[in-house]
């Protein structure tokens, strides 16, 4: 009995500590989200007070977003038919283009970073191509490719590929020379050198490039869907709502894009941390900002 009281007594302190920790966490969350909540509150109050048809209150936008996009059956993750027919094709095109940009960008980037000859040949072309603002090429792609998916994917690739390619080249160039000497001495094959030395060395830079490419491809995804010849997609819904002067629907697309961008970026960051966390000393570069 006495032993029981003596063993139950001490945990009081850690429990209080835990509770205090919980409060601190809640406090930190409040701190982080407080400006956001305040902003939305002010926005709600102002839009309600002015009752402008162009600026529906956020509560109405959220309701419209839920209604239009997220009131479907549970087995489809609540996606409505509208979401299935527009959100998924948009995402599909974007991810396809991003994957294509990554494969080509990393491949050419490695060649560019490791071979002075390739660099000498390609650098002028690259500098020129990169300087062209990607949206200006969309009309060209409309002529070159079939309207719709082909043109849209091409437009996204043309803007997303540069940060991946140039960052990869930069990363591949900065491989520790002694690691390449080691590969040389032990006669590692070209594939093994790329797989075990060059790509791991360049990985922090590659991820930095991917993050830039992600936001660019989101922009180009919407932009390419605003143009004629589009029959579905998030951008198409935006022009469609505009032609109907449906302000809540227009705003809901914008909210949806914000959420989408945030989610995709969060997923990419999580993958990046998972991959790079195993190698503490090498990850200091390229890890800034998100």
């Amino acid at each position: 009995m006495t032993s029981m009281t003596s063993t139950t007594a001490p945990p009081a302190v850690p429990a209080r500590g835990r509770r205090r920790g919980g409060i601190r966490l809640a406090g930190r969350l409040t701190q982080r989200w407080l400006p956001f909540v305040l902003l939305v509150g002010v926005w709600e109050a102002v839009t309600r007070a002015t009752a402008s048809p162009f600026f529906p209150p956020p509560s109405e936008i959220v309701a419209a977003t839920g209604d239009l996009w997220l009131s479907g059956p549970a087995h489809r993750l609540f996606l409505t038919d509208l979401a299935m027919d527009n959100l998924l094709p948009s995402l599909g095109r974007m991810l396809l283009a991003l994957a294509g940009s990554a494969v080509v960008g990393i491949g050419v980037g490695i060649a560019l970073g490791r071979s002075e000859r390739v660099f000498a040949y390609l650098n002028p072309i690259l500098q020129f191509s990169r300087a062209v603002p990607p949206p200006t090429l969309v009309p060209v792609f409309i002529v070159l490719f079939e309207l719709g998916t082909q043109m849209q994917v091409a437009s996204i690739i043309f803007s997303a590929i540069w940060p991946i390619l140039l960052n990869t080249a930069d990363g591949a160039r900065s491989v520790t020379p002694l690691q390449m000497d080691t590969a040389e001495v032990f006669r590692l094959s070209a594939v093994d050198r790329i797989r075990y030395i060059i790509i791991p060395s360049a990985l922090p830079k590659i991820f930095a490039g991917l993050r830039l490419a992600l936001s660019l491809s989101l922009i180009l995804m919407v932009f390419s869907e605003l143009l004629p010849g589009t029959s579905n997609g998030i951008g198409f819904q935006l022009t469609d709502a505009q032609s109907r002067s449906d302000m809540p629907a227009m705003w809901s697309v914008i909210v949806l894009l914000g959420v989408l961008g945030y989610l995709l970026n969060t997923i990419l960051l999580a993958v990046e941390h998972r991959v790079l966390d195993r190698r503490r000393p090498a990850r200091t570069n390229g890890k800034v900002g998100a």
């Binding site: 002694l178 000497d181 040389e184 001495v185 590692l188 090498a282």
Partner: protein, 258 residues
Amino acid sequence: MLEIKDLTHTYADGHVAVRDVNLTVANGELVSIVGPSGCGKSTLLRCIAGLIRPAEGQVILDGRPADGVPEGLAVVFQDYSRSLLPWLSVRDNVALPLKRRGMSKAQRREAATEALESVGLAAAGGKYPWQLSGGMQQRVSIARALAYRPSLLLMDEPFGSVDAQTREDLEDLTLQVRGGNDMTILLVTHDIDESVYVGDRVVVLGASPGHVRADLPVDLPGPRDQISTRELPEFVRLRAEVGRLVRGVTETTATAAK
């Protein structure tokens, strides 16, 4: 047989690192190379390894002029820690070169584990190099070279970061591995005792630019023993001679500089 003929190397900045080096090493021989720091020991090893093309002269292996990295070569680099891959576990670092040896994954793993055991790192296989101390990293790079079973092994100050006891163990390991595998070894060291203890010959390099100052046969009975070999009058005589030669080199450079 490894022959180095009239080897001269000048770096891009015009600095002559080694000049007119001639050296012949028989198969299975262990040659220690000593000399003051900056006299071109690493440069010499890199020329033999085919990592730098000498400005003049030749490296000849078994009668054929070497072009690039010779077959069956392993190197323990002076900058051992930067030669390890930080994103691979210690065991994978040791096993990676074995891919070119036609071994299966299981065989590579086994060979790596064995080599790590031999350098006293049996427990570190699953760790990453950056989780180990400098001396342990140095032993990983030795294990990587040994697991490869090279016919020519170049070691650049391979025991510099380990404690005295481990150092003696590694010296004996080197002798033992050499004996069992008919391996030719060039071992650069700045420890005069070590150069005599492990070497069949001691080559003393002089500085500015690097050249062979002396080439002394070591006439000590094998197998060598850390305590009794170091007591032998011949050992004591040789270490004094090598010491004088190394010091003499620095004295001449000192007077030349004045």
